[in-house]
């Protein structure tokens, strides 16, 4: 299978890429790792008239630490996130989430920015980013904007990015040393998109009290979603198994998944419960030892 004809540009700076986007608008499509776009083009589902290849924009490929934040360039490969000592130390949940993506060769090509703008709600990076309260920096002809995940993800494969804007950086607050975390997911086969994916973060206070809990679920709605009621249930509490079981139930009750050929709505909801419980237990086990 081969894609339709397209015009090809390979800018070497962000400014050049924005100029091209500004000129061609929604006729153009940016290609980064191409792990979602190329299959869509080969099936002729997507027929962009213009491809803007950003792989030569070196200024978009970096992982840096600035104060309590990790700054990650949009062109950073998934494999680089997974193997970065800085990510493993300051934001290990992201490295773990990325390890679930597809297979090794896919991760050597796929990028953090590509996964975010593709906005598949079953994908691991969007789910993790929502649980980490990260920010997306996007740049367009009229300047830059910083978006929260809730503003960024609108629906299946749809973000609030304008046709002439490009995602340049993801800012992720680093996790404190005492935070518990986990990323768990259910998929048909290893490497498939998640039926349910759960990112959990527990911020701990004195005496085993959970100050704040974050639970982000992928695969069960049109965007990744936070389990707000379950988070509230855990906040300010000393954790125990019964409380975690209840949080899983609350998280599942708040979901309204659709059925498709991968899984029925009932199964998805029940697996949301199981994987929130499993994820929270794993996160809790990580901090229990350190008390």
């Amino acid at each position: 299978m081969k894609p339709g004809a397209f015009e090809y540009f390979a800018p070497s700076t962000v400014a050049e890429a924005i100029n091209l986007l500004d000129r061609y608008g929604d006729e153009a499509k940016i290609i980064a790792g191409g792990q979602s776009l190329v299959p869509m083009m080969n099936f002729r589902l997507a027929r962009p008239e213009v491809l803007i290849d950003i792989n030569r924009i070196k200024e978009l490929d970096y992982i840096r630490e600035k104060g309590d934040e990790l700054l990650i360039g949009a062109l950073t490969r998934e494999r680089d996130l997974e193997s970065s000592p800085l990510v493993q130390e300051r934001c290990p949940i992201l490295a773990k989430a990325v390890s679930f993506i597809g297979h090794f060769p896919i991760r050597t090509r796929g990028t953090i920015g590509g996964s975010l703008v593709h906005a598949d709600p079953s994908a691991e990076i969007p789910t993790a980013i929502l649980g980490l309260d990260a920010r997306m920096k996007v740049v367009g002809p009229s300047g830059e904007r910083t978006l929260e995940p809730e503003e960024f993800f609108l629906s299946y494969l749809t973000t609030s990015l304008e046709p002439s804007e490009i995602l340049v950086e993801v800012k992720i607050p680093a996790l404190p040393k005492k935070a518990g975390w986990s990323f768990v997911e259910l998929s048909r086969r290893q490497g498939d998109f998640a039926i349910v994916g759960v990112a959990s973060v527990l911020f701990m206070g004195q005496g085993g009290v959970c100050k704040e809990a974050r639970i982000s679920l992928g695969g069960i709605a049109s965007t990744p979603i936070r389990a707000g009621e379950a988070e509230e249930l855990l906040a300010g509490q000393i954790l125990n198994e019964a409380l975690i079981e209840k949080a899983g139930q609350k998280a599942a009750e708040a979901t309204d998944p659709d059925s498709d050929y991968h899984a029925s709505a009932e199964y998805r909801r029940d697996m949301a419960r199981v994987f929130v419980q499993r994820g929270l237990k794993e996160a809790w086990n990580r901090v229990k030892g350190g008390q």
Binding site: D26, M40, L45, A46, P48, Y156, T158, S222, D258, D260
Partner: protein, 147 residues
Amino acid sequence: MKIEGKHKFQASQKQIWDLFMDQRHLEKALPGCEKMEEREPGKYDVLLKIGIAAVKGTYRGKMEVVDPEPPKRYRLIGEGSGSPGFVKGEAVIELSQQDQDTIVSYQGEMQVGGLIAGIGQRMIGGIARMMVGQFFKKMEKELKSQQ
């Protein structure tokens, strides 16, 4: 696939009916609407430019208001086609007054075919719901610009 929901407007039933029957407001509120012309009362030709993920396209189509019972209820039938495929749909739209407000509820069935169906019904349903949401938000704006 089924699409249903409701939206509350702070205006009378009559005001909302007039708003929903006015081509000038519909043209501004329909997501991706490039052009909308009223051929005869209640029958419109529309040109929509819609992109779902990288699947972008222009759809030409018709929309028709059927069995109007002002200011309470009507049926809306629509169809459109373009290079990425076709969309067909029908919905019952009901307006009910609640104190000062009017609730607009809709219940419809939508079919999608051609290339675009390859994206998957679950995703298209989700995106359709988002567009309906955007439409109602813009209609609210149109209402405010009138008041």
